[in-house]
């Protein structure tokens, strides 16, 4: 048993979005990363894999720039050179600086001032690839969600417009939020659904900002303050009470009532029962990649009789109640930290001796090419990798799910994943779930 160590392992499950993917949500924006070669390597190939090379450029920092102290000149002249060589001037440029700029005290304000003077027709947005800040309060993920809305300016408020802030995926049309807003005559605005820069700028008319991810709260609050409107947090959850409370809170804010709790709950119950009839006692592993609330999801499923055997997640942050409930009520459940070095040689031991669809026993990621999977349903790519099951729900960061409707949809996805085998390696190899991929 390896004691607590600060070394970290990287699971070969690539569906999670990076700051490259997130930045591309700003339509027509051009990303320019100013970093060392090692840092550029990952982002430039992410953009290429997305077939978005035409919206992506780089400026490489070399050793002499550090010793010469010309980081400002490199940034300004590098960006200028790229913009002058692009066939079409983008309306917005996201400039990503890196840890090294901040350690060297690069005068970024001056760089952006000069660039704005040189290119007055371009909105420059300062973005940050600063992994040294990963464990800080304002980590790069939270920062990136904030920067997504930086180029939005206040417009005349349209009270009909409600902006869902900070999500990478639009919620489905049948989601509880959209239905409730529709009932009150409101429209839901979402960045992932915006097609062009002109429409992006129109997001400045929002009369209310809502957010359902903890990483998006800072972004929502900042945008709301800028637009002079209210920010409302409706945390994503699989817990019935929490979902109901969120919908009531939203209803109060938009001047209506949430009065379909019993009906919505019954729909969710029915969907879970239906899934249970198919999936039965099959072991289920959940991860923190498929959803921002893996413990809430595991608890919901365990409360409905599903056989939850493992949760793969790097932290319990914000879900202590659900975590404690699982620890107390689900016998034998294991909690695994994905980044732990020991996970490199992790073996998942099935609790069953045999089942109709596959061999029982040990699934080991490190002998992945030779194993016959035990029948196990994984919810999320990392859970699938660690258990080496081809039966898995492939989704990241809650996908389009929200509320009771989200539970109905997830039940359907689980049933489908239980029946239909996926190519595990091929699926996990593709970066940025939901994005175009040239692979």
């Amino acid at each position: 048993m390896l004691k607590q160590t600060g070394l970290e392992y990287s699971v070969p499950a690539r569906g999670g979005w990076t700051i490259v993917h997130v930045g591309m949500l700003v339509p027509e924006a051009h990303e320019i990363f100013v970093c060392a070669a090692g840092c550029l390597r990952g982002v430039v190939l992410s953009a290429a894999e997305m077939n978005l090379t035409d919206r992506f450029s780089t400026v490489a920092i070399e050793e002499h720039n550090v010793t010469d102290g010309d980081m400002e000149e490199l940034l300004v002249e590098g960006v200028t050179d790229i913009l002058n060589r692009l066939k079409k001037r983008p309306p917005c440029v996201l400039i990503y600086t890196s840890c090294i700029h901040h350690f060297m005290g690069t005068d970024l304000d001056d760089c952006f001032r000069i660039l704005s003077d040189r290119f007055p027709d371009v909105d420059f947005v300062d973005c940050y690839m600063t992994p040294t800040m990963r464990k800080s309060t304002l980590n790069p993920d939270k920062m990136m969600r904030k920067r997504l809305y930086a180029a939005i300016k206040p417009l005349k408020t349209d009270e009909r417009d409600v902006l869902l802030c900070g999500n990478c995926f639009s919620v489905s049309d049948t989601s509880d939020i959209k239905v409730l807003l529709g009932k009150a005559g409101k429209r839901l605005l979402e960045l992932p659904s915006v097609d062009n820069y002109s429409d992006y700028k129109k997001l400045g008319s929002a009369g209310l900002i809502i957010s359902n991810l903890s990483v998006a709260k800072d972004a929502a609050d900042e945008l709301a303050e800028k637009l002079g409107v209210k920010s409302l947090q409706l945390p994503f959850s699989f817990g019935y009470e929490e979902i109901r409370d969120n919908l009531c809170k939203l209803a109060d804010e938009i001047g209506t009532t949430y009065d379909t709790f019993e009906v919505d709950k019954a729909r969710a119950e029915e969907a879970l029962d239906k899934a249970m009839k198919v999936i039965g006692e099959c072991e289920i592993a959940v991860d923190g990649m498929i959803t921002t609330r893996p413990y809430s999801l595991a608890r919901l499923l365990a409360e409905h009789g599903f056989n939850i055997t493992a949760v793969f997640s790097d932290s319990v942050g914000g879900e202590e109640t659900d975590y404690e409930w699982l620890k107390t009520n689900v016998k034998g459940i294991r909690f695994e930290k994905c980044i732990s070095p020991e996970m490199r040689t992790f073996s998942y031991k099935s609790t069953v001796q045999s089942n109709p669809l596959g061999a029982c026993g040990t699934n080991t990621a490190s002998n992945a090419n030779n194993i016959i999977p035990a029948k196990l349903l994984a919810l999320g790519q990392k859970a699938a990798y660690f258990t080496q099951t081809p039966y898995f729900v492939d989704m990241v960061e809650n996908g389009p799910l929200y509320g009771f409707d989200g539970i109905v949809e997830l039940s359907r996805m689980m049933t489908d994943a239980f029946i239909n085998v996926k190519d595990l390696k091929k699926t996990l190899d593709i970066k940025g779930w939901g994005c175009e991929s040239c692979i």
Partner: protein, 376 residues
């Protein structure tokens, strides 16, 4: 502005070169990095990662550690703990921009790990700002200096393959190289390091000749020549002409105890309309191969007006210049490459160069993992 790239990709870095060269030899490998290096390396540069149990981690250095200069202490403790758990053949630390910039003493950290565990440990003070061949070359040389210490006992026909990593060679290419060596009556004694075994490294001093298949193997080849008198041949078998050239050169080197390269006598024409872009050993070997086709001469006669020239887009290794002929160029500048390609009709290069290929020119894709990773 040579450092600005509008559309072209970037080559793998020195940090990843270190790890790629050492991977597969049973080491505990750590990139002294905040986050991101591990994912980048294992996604794009290391095809063996999925389903393998090679040990590569990041140190997860934080802002506070970097500012306070305490990352080395914690890294040593973490690696000692991990080394005791995993019992690797060796441990290695490759630096990245922030530890490099803040002057983190990774040699000292490595020495502390070795002192506490008895496991051979190395630090590589790379910056993450240079290209992969620098790091891979350092790593292979370090292996030679530390582990290739068996008493000299010559193995007849024994060949060391030097500079083989997945950054430059596909699996199939490696097997092809091996087949060419075996096809001329020689045998592979050790591979540095793709598909190699840790225990074979010590045997390398008994080889009769080394074959350098990429620029990353040159420093190690020179070391083995100086220490053990093992001559080396530079060249990558890439078809009938170069296969034969390599076979002949290996035998000549054994006989004469002299080093040579298969393209020593091939002088490319600066105005040639056919160009190969890539790692210089592979690119020059392919140029030689294609020149024989264009010249309708399969006898491997050398030419002073070669119809195929080379652009080496990796520029950091001091060994690159000597590999090129007068018609070849070495540049990492996007605009220079773009201008050069305007003169070309046929371009052999990785698929990601398609963005700078002029209209009317034919791009023949030659995958180079160090450039496009797994996506081309």
């Amino acid at each position: 502005m040579n450092q600005a790239r509008k559309v072209l990709s970037t080559y793998s870095s020195d940090t990843f070169g270190v790890i790629s060269a050492l991977y597969g030899l049973g080491g505990l490998l750590v990139m002294h990095d905040a986050s991101g290096c591990n994912s980048t390396f294992t996604t794009h540069d290391e095809p063996r990662w999925y389903g393998d149990d090679g040990l590569v981690f990041v140190s997860a250095v934080t802002e506070e550690e970097a500012v306070m200069g305490t990352s080395g202490d914690r890294l040593a403790a973490d690696m000692i703990e991990a080394a005791r758990h995993f019992k690797p053949n060796f441990t290695a630390i490759a630096s990245t921009p922030i530890p490099w910039m803040t002057g983190s003493d990774i040699d000292l950290t490595a020495a502390e790990i070795e002192d506490k565990t008895g496991i051979p440990s190395f630090g590589f003070d790379v910056s993450g700002m240079r290209s992969y061949e620098i790091g891979a070359s350092m790593a292979l040389l370090m292996l030679a200096k530390r582990f290739c210490n068996a008493p000299k006992s010559s193995v007849t026909g024994g060949v060391n393959i030097l500079g083989a990593t997945p950054l430059d060679l596909e699996d199939g290419q490696f097997e092809y190289v091996k087949a060419v060596i075996e096809g001329c009556g020689l045998n592979v004694l050790s591979s540095w390091s793709m598909k190699g075994r840790f225990e074979d490294l010590a045997k390398a001093s008994g080889a009769e000749v080394s074959l350098v298949v990429s620029v990353t193997g040159i420093d190690t080849a020179k070391y083995l020549f100086e220490q053990y008198g093992i001559p080396y041949v530079i060249g990558l078998p890439s078809g009938p002409v170069t296969d034969k050239a390599v076979s002949t050169a290996l035998k000549d080197a054994i006989k004469a105890k002299k080093c040579n390269s298969i393209f020593d006598g091939y002088i490319s024409d600066r105005g040639a309309a056919t160009v190969v872009i890539g790692e210089p050993v592979a690119a020059r070997s392919l140029a030689l191969e294609k020149n024989s086709v264009l010249s309708n001469d399969n006898t491997c006669n050398m030419s002073i007006n070669g119809k195929v020239r080379v652009i080496s887009p990796i520029v950091d290794s001091p060994n690159i210049g000597a590999l090129l002929s007068t018609g070849d160029i070495m540049t990492a500048s996007e605009t220079e490459i773009e201008d050069e390609l305007k003169k070309c009709k046929t371009i052999y290069a990785d698929g990601l160069y398609r963005f700078v290929c002029p209209e009317g020119a034919e791009l023949i894709k030659v995958h180079h993992r160090a450039y496009s990773g797994r996506i081309m």
